[in-house]
Symmetry: C2
Subunit: 349 residues, 2 copies
DNA sequence: CGTGCATATGACAACGTTGTCCAGGCTCTA
DNA sequence: TAGAGCCTGGACAACGTTGTCATATGCACG
């Protein structure tokens, strides 16, 4: 490079391709740096004439404020993080959409990631979000020990747990009434005459799964029905194994006459299995799903309101940020039994 | 506050609650600032002993690197933006999950927002993401003029459009073969003897909707069937109006004997309407959906691979960032006809 | 004509990190 | 034992923005 070229002032060197900065805008408009800042942020104290010149320079250069620098200076990022289990799970769609809507109403952006039900990945993600200095975190926990968040919370990161409680830490939690919902669902089957009722659910280390199992047991106990081990299948969610589990409890000398499915994925698989059976078997599922009403028979479910979970959580998050909210609370939202036919079938012994 | 207290050096003043900085860590460990940086980033040239001391200080203070400052310095944010239409739409779940997975493989986070099919909101979102200096953008366009992104692209923001093409701008685009898919679907109905075939789709200003309509017309023309206006309903997606549209084309002296539904939401509503009809009406839908196989009859669909769309788009994005990819391209992914029964019903005149 | 006040503008430091460069201490070899 | 070369560690500037403060200008008033 020739000496003369090196001497040329290279505007402000940039690494974002070649982005103009406020300094460049200021130079072009023939004003001071701070004046540009004022125009960009709509602060008062700028003559219309000056503002016009600055605006012109901005348009000409295609300037866009660098929010990274702004964040560094101001300390608030106007973004919140959402850690969930799987973006593609239909249950989390409405939930994250609700969180996004609340965020948007507060002028914040949403950064999200999936933990894939892996505690390490959850932690990695949550901490990465903290490193970016999100203002707050909405977490659907995969793990059961969240002490790693203590320094963050102490440092002012608002935090709300949804769908499952936080572990070993005192924080806001928004849950569905998994226990009550499951108990109602199973009681519903019992009320329709069933006594041998199967339960297929996820690993009991997942809080929701454990609570639903507890609800199942409670309903059975309330009715004075001793539960046999062969009626319960825990920790299976992949279709293959759910199928096998269902087929097992439907065979043998005293097969179940009804099944309670622990979540939407299980329900769907069980529906497939039941469709192949000659005998009519009753079914109640936890979680509603699209088209449940169109199947033959319609599927009776215990529905939780995913959007309400997300909305409530995000609301609390921003109230934490406002300072309106101080003591962590545990909120439990009710579930709703939706009868559509499959849960009202009588036992076919 | 007593004078003595005021004189105490207040660590480094912070606004993130009270977060320790590298400077604080350095002071506590009795080393230089840059040494801490080296340890934090795993750079070589630090004695094990020094490293241990630094690590100790980090743990003791609960230090977490401030990525905002890092970004400012380095120029890359290791995050990409995703602008889609609606997080809760089941079609976009797998798509965004695929994008997230690719991003994760490249060590990047995903920031996303929903445009709600509003061009202004799309622009607002995209530009907000640019202001945060995301490295790249994956956009499912709502609008049809993307010239507003020109300065950004010129400045080095990698950009890929998915599902629908970019407007008035030269950029990477990843699409499904909407035209071909729709044509095949309608041809399938024709092959099963139908001639009066209805079409219910979204507003033709949406590219995918227009292409699918074009495919419908092409198939009809190929078969030498003149299309009557009353067979087509464009621009309706909300259940109410889809229902009315479907009921209309199913009544009258020469009702349609088959319906082609332009997207998953329409399909679902049409399924409901058809379930109420005494006459058997054939149906092919664009987009696959869960449980389509469990309905009576199973719903024949033209399936697009949402995950592949997302994966392809994200791949290209990162190849743009690598510099491996230079000229914008338009990629069209094939669709697949899945026959399940509803599309193979014969016409019931 | 000087004083006071309001308003418009700009200079400068700071935010927390990383890249560059230099200093000091060590080992190795001639 | 002196010189060369390597390794560790630290000082300093820069990234692009905003808050603070100082200055300049204009105007009204005594």
């Amino acid at each position: 490079m020739p000496e003369t070229a090196r001497r040329t002032a290279p505007l402000s060197a940039t690494r974002y391709g070649n982005r103009p900065t406020m300094k460049d805008v200021a130079a072009r408009a023939g004003v001071g740096l701070k004046t540009v800042s004022r125009v960009v942020n709509g602060e008062p104290g700028v003559t219309p004439e000056t503002e016009r010149r600055v605006q012109e320079a901005i348009d000409a250069l295609g300037f866009r404020r660098n929010d990274s620098a702004r964040v560094l200076r101001k300390g608030r990022t106007a973004s919140i993080g959402l850690v969930l289990e799987d973006l593609a799970d239909p249950f989390y769609g409405p939930l994250s959409r609700a969180v996004e809507e609340v965020a948007r109403a507060h002028g914040a952006l949403l950064i999200n990631g999936s933990s894939a039900e892996d505690p390490d990945r959850e932690q990695e993600l949550a901490l990465a979000l903290c490193a970016r200095r999100v203002d707050g975190l909405v977490i659907i926990p995969a793990g059961d020990d969240h002490r790693y968040l203590e320094p963050e919370i102490k440092a002012g990161v608002a935090t709300v747990f949804v769908d499952r409680p936080a572990g070993r830490i005192d924080a806001d939690v928004v849950l569905s009434d998994n226990y009550g919902g499951a108990r109602d669902g199973v009681a519903h089957l019992i009320a329709h005459g069933h006594r041998r009722i199967g339960f297929i659910g996820d690993m009991p280390r997942i809080h929701t799964a454990a609570e639903r199992l507890r609800g199942y047991r409670a309903a059975m106990e309330d009715a004075g029905i001793p539960v046999e081990d062969s009626w319960m299948s825990l920790g299976v969610t992949d279709p293959q194994r759910v199928r096998r589990a269902a087929e097992e409890m439907l065979s043998g000398p005293a097969p179940v006459t009804a099944v309670f499915a622990g979540n939407n994925r299980v329900t769907v698989t069980v529906v497939r299995v039941l469709a192949e059976q000659s005998r009519r078997v009753a079914l109640v599922g936890f979680d509603d799903f699209e088209l449940a009403d169109l199947l033959q028979p319609g599927v009776t479910v215990v529905a939780q309101d995913a959007a309400a979970l997300g909305r409530t959580a995000a609301d609390r998050l921003f109230r934490q940020l406002d300072g309106t909210l101080l003591t962590p609370e545990r909120i439990e939202l009710p579930t709703r039994l939706i009868t559509r036919g499959s849960g009202e079938l009588p036992p076919a012994d």
